[in-house]
Symmetry: C2
Subunit: 133 residues, 2 copies
DNA sequence: GCACAACTTTACGTTAACGTAAACTTCATA
DNA sequence: TATGAAGTTTACGTTAACGTAAAGTTGTGC
């Protein structure tokens, strides 16, 4: 299944190569309900939407999101937000995520500063080693 | 072991309460070599340095660092950086971490924008629901 | 002196996120 | 036609980060 089926669909190995993950992982994400590719016979066929979802899953992982959390974020887009109570619960979920992420921003900036500092120290020591040759 | 031993030391439950984690976790971090409290008899006594380390471990977790990764970051501070080759390997490790974190910054900002957008949509729908009462 | 709260060690259990192996089907190509 | 590459399902194995339970020790209040 090396050749593309159409310009907008992908095989499982296409995606596994593009994102550098195993086909096992991709099938697992489907198992967990995060992707739902169509089939041709029993072969999975991924479209653009599936691809975007995969990308979002991986971004979520980089941010330390569990697959379940990423799944809930997906639902936020899919649910038809009819009732006001539903809308409010969604909004509180969003606001929770936002404060989590803002905390992460602070964390990252703090660590970046520390790493810069550490890097500078290393450079100083290195250059003093060079001079004393 | 409710009372403080001195103004600068803590019992395991002091720390578990302060950081809202179980004593099991704290002992586990010790097991993994991330903390090394002193002992009075067989009872663990944590000092200010241990406390700071705990705080750093939890920050690492928020950033999706494994305990092993956090441990390596600790080592960066502890190692006496004698040889130039060691220094260079440390610096490449630092630069790896830095680019990871910068990627995370981008990720977070992207998600924050999406969440803001989603939030705005919810608010719009909510207010239109209010008006049609 | 004894209950009891907080500490300890030892060790097996659990969950998420896959890895890995086996046994099978499809399809292109030599 | 057969061989090999890519796909499939089923199912057991693995690792990190703890949870949980058992069984014992230690200090403190009544």
């Amino acid at each position: 299944m090396t050749k593309k089926i159409s310009s907008l669909s992908y095989s499982i190995s296409d995606l596994s190569k593009e994102f550098d993950i195993t086909t096992r992982s991709i099938r697992f994400y489907e198992d967990q309900g995060l992707i739902a590719p169509s089939r041709k016979g029993q072969t999975r066929i991924y479209n653009q939407r599936d691809r975007v979802r995969l990308k979002l899953i991986l971004r979520g992982k980089r941010l330390g999101f569990s697959l379940a959390e990423t799944g809930r974020l997906f639902e936020l887009y899919d649910v038809d937000k009819t009732s006001a109570t539903q809308l409010n619960s969604i909004m509180s979920l969003i606001s929770d995520k936002k404060s989590d992420l803002k905390q992460q921003l602070d964390d990252i900036n703090a660590v970046l500063i520390e790493l810069d500092d550490l890097e500078k120290n290393c450079k100083d020591i290195l250059s003093s080693l060079e001079n004393n040759k």
